[in-house]
């Protein structure tokens, strides 16, 4: 067995995102995204020898995808069973396997059909103990599912730092104005002050405008050994990748609200690992792609990854610092809030486009991008960097 010297993101591909209810097949969309990722890399789909997916999606399984690609061999087929935290974890696993010499070209993917995802999300699943905790211990006292956890984080954050719905309003419109520059996005019209502040509250500080946008989407990332990338392709360097469940192993989705680790969340644990491995600091990051299933999620995750100081995020978003032309651009594609819900995986594609300089809403001269998963564990993150041509 020969260890591979370096692992890179060789290609990305996407079945064009549309609002949910498109009637498209998740399987067909996944194959389309994977073939596009191979074409982008200039690598034959027959050379793909590994596949990694999120456990909790409704798309084609790993070995079927490899069969559809006509792959010559299957060296590994892996599922990562987190929630949104799986996003960068897929890349972390692929990179590790390639560096260990276990495979040479691994396709990582996430397909979401909005309607079936919502159905899956609201069903207690014995394979996910945390969903059972929700059904058994939280649901009886009024737990509403998805929004509840992020409303709880808001309450916890607001007891320590200054934040208000003004910051959420600015966040919603920042993501919508970014989405308006993205060729494939769901919510592109701004929300007026009257619309936002007159909308009925649903859970905690949230209105209908603060939730992720339901979409049908498939995204694929091809991670390969550096030496199989053909001349003329445009690979991106992985400076760091990491996973963590944080200081409390039970700080996972939903039951995170029953733990006490505001200061040391799973996201901040991932951030420390990323900066340590890359020997970079937050000031080296040109663009942040942070998990944003709600408006507040984006703000909290940005802060947990050190993209602003503790307690600063509300004033920073109101000051416009996170705009594409601001000092710390976030989610130039409009994120999952306005662009469309991909469980955070499209953030990786956007990070690759940004450091290649080819994004729809390009940050000027972005060389280094951070991808940050949610603040409930287990979660993950990445730092990607433009390959300098010698």
């Amino acid at each position: 067995m020969v260890l591979n010297r370096n692992a890179v993101i060789a290609g990305i591909g996407e079945a064009p995102l549309t609002p949910s209810g498109s009637g498209r097949s998740a399987d067909a969309m996944t194959v389309e995204a994977a073939l596009k990722a191979c074409a982008d890399a200039g690598i034959s789909p027959r050379e793909v020898d590994g596949a990694i997916k999120y456990t909790y999606d409704t798309s084609i399984n790993t070995f079927s995808l490899l069969a559809n690609l006509g792959a010559k061999d299957l060296r590994l087929a892996v599922e990562v069973p987190f929630g949104g935290g799986s996003c960068a974890a897929l890349i972390d696993v692929a990179r590790s396997m390639i560096l260990a010499g276990r495979a040479r070209a691994i396709i990582c993917y996430r397909t979401v059909l909005g309607d079936s995802w919502i159905k899956q999300l609201s069903t207690a699943d014995p394979q996910r103990p945390y969903y059972m905790d929700t059904a058994d211990y939280l649901r009886p006292v009024g737990w509403t599912g998805y929004l509840g956890i992020f409303a709880a984080f808001y309450s916890e954050y607001a007891s320590k730092y200054s934040i208000s719905r003004e910051a959420l309003f600015e966040t919603v419109n920042l993501m919508r104005s970014n989405a308006a520059q993205n060729n494939h996005a769901v919510h592109t019209a701004p929300v007026t002050r009257d619309e936002y502040f007159n909308a009925p509250l649903t859970v905690g500080p949230f209105t209908e405008f603060d939730e992720f946008a339901l979409a049908d989407t498939s995204c694929a990332v091809l991670v390969t050994a550096e030496d199989i990338v053909p001349i003329g392709a445009n690979p991106v360097d992985i400076m760091a990748s990491a996973q963590s469940h944080g200081g409390d192993p039970r700080a996972y989705f939903d039951s995170r609200v029953l733990t006490n680790n505001l200061a040391g969340s799973p996201a901040s644990a991932v951030a420390s690992k990323l900066y340590e491995e890359s020997r970079l600091t937050a000031s080296d990051i040109d663009v942040g792609l942070v998990y944003d299933c709600t408006s507040f999620t984006l703000l909290y995750v940005a802060e947990q990854f050190g993209l602003c100081g503790p307690g600063e995020v509300a004033e920073r978003v109101i000051a416009g610092d996170f705009a594409t032309t601001g000092s710390m651009p976030l989610n130039p594609h409009g994120g999952d809030t306005a662009g469309g819900y991909t469980h955070g995986f499209r953030h990786i594609l956007e990070a690759v486009k940004q450091v290649r300089g080819i994004a729809d809403n390009q940050v000027t001269d972005a060389r280094t991008a951070l991808v940050g998963g949610p603040q409930a564990g287990p979660t993950s993150g990445l730092i990607l960097r433009r390959r300098e041509t010698s």
Binding site: I118, Y137, R139, G142, P200, G204, E208, E211, S255, N260
Partner: protein, 157 residues
């Protein structure tokens, strides 16, 4: 209260995660006390229950009364029963909106975890981090639940 006196019943670890939840519901209804899980060997307390002690890995765990007093750490107010794609109100509680799911750090427990509890009514407006509350088991929509109420008497209007 002596820790031994708080122990209500041995956790049926062998029944697994769903069995523990059944036991929790039955014991809450029978004893009408606020329960968490406690380790006999090292006295560590945790909630929700697990299949072993997260501190010392012992598998003999007990259901223990964590007392009727605590402080609010945070809470989630549910303003409406009108659902959106990402949330649904439990059907039996839909007539009780607005209500809050309140997270309480029990006073009698040094280990850091929160008990989830229910609250509705005019005193919702008093919720804030650090608020001292009483927790008791009350029948809500036909089911015994942990319910919180501020310790301070209601302010006269």
């Amino acid at each position: 209260m002596n820790i031994d006196e708080t122990m209500v019943a041995r956790c049926e670890i062998a029944l697994g995660t769903p069995g523990l939840a059944d036991q929790f519901r039955a014991l809450t209804a029978e004893h009408r006390r606020v329960l968490a899980q406690r380790c006999r060997a090292c006295s560590h307390a945790q909630f929700p229950p697990m299949l072993a002690c997260a501190r010392c890995n012992a598998t003999e765990m007990w259901w223990a009364d964590v007392g009727g007093r605590g402080v609010v750490t945070h809470w989630v107010t549910v303003h409406t029963a009108q659902t959106t794609p990402a949330f649904t109100v439990p059907r039996r509680l839909s007539e009780l909106v607005p209500y809050a799911t309140v997270f309480v750090q029990p006073e009698a427990v040094n280990d850091e975890f929160r008990i989830p509890a229910f609250m509705t009514g005019p005193r919702l407006a008093e919720l804030e981090a650090g608020l001292p509350v009483n927790i008791s088991i009350v029948d809500v929509a036909g089911r015994p639940l942990a319910v919180v109420e501020p310790v301070a008497p209601t302010k006269e209007a």
